[in-house]
């Protein structure tokens, strides 16, 4: 009986290890391939047909040529990296501010039409981004926001997902503590800063992480709203195949690092926050 359960356990772990390896393989492949010489990458991949001419998991000769070319010879990729930063960081900060305030209002304040407005917000949450791309394009054209990073930052700032996520966190805070603060004469802003914010810290970190990952990898919006290619973030170059194919792996590693750092910072809060949903 005991040995049967032991076998089951080994089988379960083996399956999990195999699945993990399958999911990690592309990342492992990217990191390893970033140490191949550009010649070796060209020999391995035919980017015109999208086919591997040969598949290597170990570099033939270890080389830092790709990194040298990304960091010293091709400043456009570094500039695109900073374009990504310019889009992502303001979006995350603005979304945290707007979502936390809106979540407080939707979660704890009583005002006419509160639930109906929230219902409309929920509809926005289920709409795929592609549905609103073209109407948004015309709107930005009218208000002269095309070719402007604000065309990506603004929709991100008022994202319905952030409000829904934080509202769930706010609802866990007891009404009694808010009412007690009101009785003591605290304003809504004071309640927000002293009672609400400290208690939704985990939710805020999770939202920051998810918004970061979402905006860091943004592709469709820049392609449609930006006609000036110099404003493209690195995610567009990496995905649209416009990057120099010989150094694409080193670009990928550079692009991956900030997202990994953010994940390591907020991983614990991310788990605790989702248990509340």
């Amino acid at each position: 009986m005991k040995s049967k359960s032991k076998v089951k356990k080994y089988l379960r772990y083996s399956l999990l290890i195999v699945l993990t390896l399958i999911f990690l393989l592309p990342v492992f492949f990217m990191v390893i391939s970033s140490f191949m010489s550009t010649k070796e990458v060209s020999e391995m991949l035919n980017f015109n047909t999208g086919e591997f001419t040969s598949f290597k998991l170990i570099p033939g000769d270890f080389s830092l040529e790709q990194y040298y070319r990304v960091f010293f010879r091709n400043p456009q990729y570094l500039k695109e990296f900073w374009n990504s930063v310019l889009i992502t960081f303001p979006t995350v900060i603005c979304q945290l501010i707007v979502s936390s305030l809106a979540a407080f209002a939707f979660g704890k304040l009583k005002f006419p039409g509160r639930d109906k407005i929230f219902f409309v917000y929920m509809i926005l949450l289920i709409l795929p981004i592609q549905v609103t791309l073209v109407p948004s394009y015309f709107m930005y054209q009218k208000i002269d926001l095309l070719n402007n990073v604000m065309s990506i930052i603004l929709p991100g700032t008022f994202s319905a997902f952030g409000i829904c996520l934080l509202r769930q966190n706010v609802r866990y805070i007891s009404d009694a503590s808010i009412e007690a603060a009101r009785v003591d004469g605290a304003s809504y802003f004071k309640i927000f800063f002293r009672i609400i914010l400290p208690q939704i810290r985990g939710g805020l970190i999770s939202l920051a992480l998810l918004t970061f990952v979402d905006t860091w990898g943004v592709i469709e919006q820049p392609l449609i709203y930006f006609t000036d290619r110099s404003k493209y973030p690195l995610s567009v170059s990496l995905s649209a195949g416009s990057a120099d194919t010989q150094i694409i792996f080193a670009c990928g590693v550079m692009f991956m690092i900030p997202a990994l750092l953010i994940y390591f910072l907020g991983e614990k809060d991310l788990r605790s926050s989702f248990t509340r949903i």
Partner: protein, 136 residues
Amino acid sequence: MENKNLRKKFQIGIVVFGVLFFMVLGGLTYISGHIDSMLYTTVTASLTSSGDLDVPDDVFPAYTLVPASALKGNTLYYVKRNSQGDYEVASMEVQIVKSDGVQTEIEKLEMNVLAICDSNKDFKLGETVLVKADIL
């Protein structure tokens, strides 16, 4: 308790690494814009064109016009892209027909090339150079 301390140390390490990462990339972004001009010879190049000196608006020109400064005797120095996407110096022998001091008429080339008119340093054949301006 020990786990908590370890986690805190890990998080501090992540923050320090993150700050250094962004600072280094910021520095590299600044430097990489200037590093090419420090490392490589900068040349001014001009695209050759089909044309005749005597018939400026000839519809079917019989010759190629190159800047006079691009020729050293009968040798035309030009830049071409190598497999890495960089410009390198190449040369070819040409048949000079006539010159007006500014442009030189040569036997027609199969295709127009970026002729080197000027450079900030001496250059060698096959050397990688930085093209400062393509005067088209």
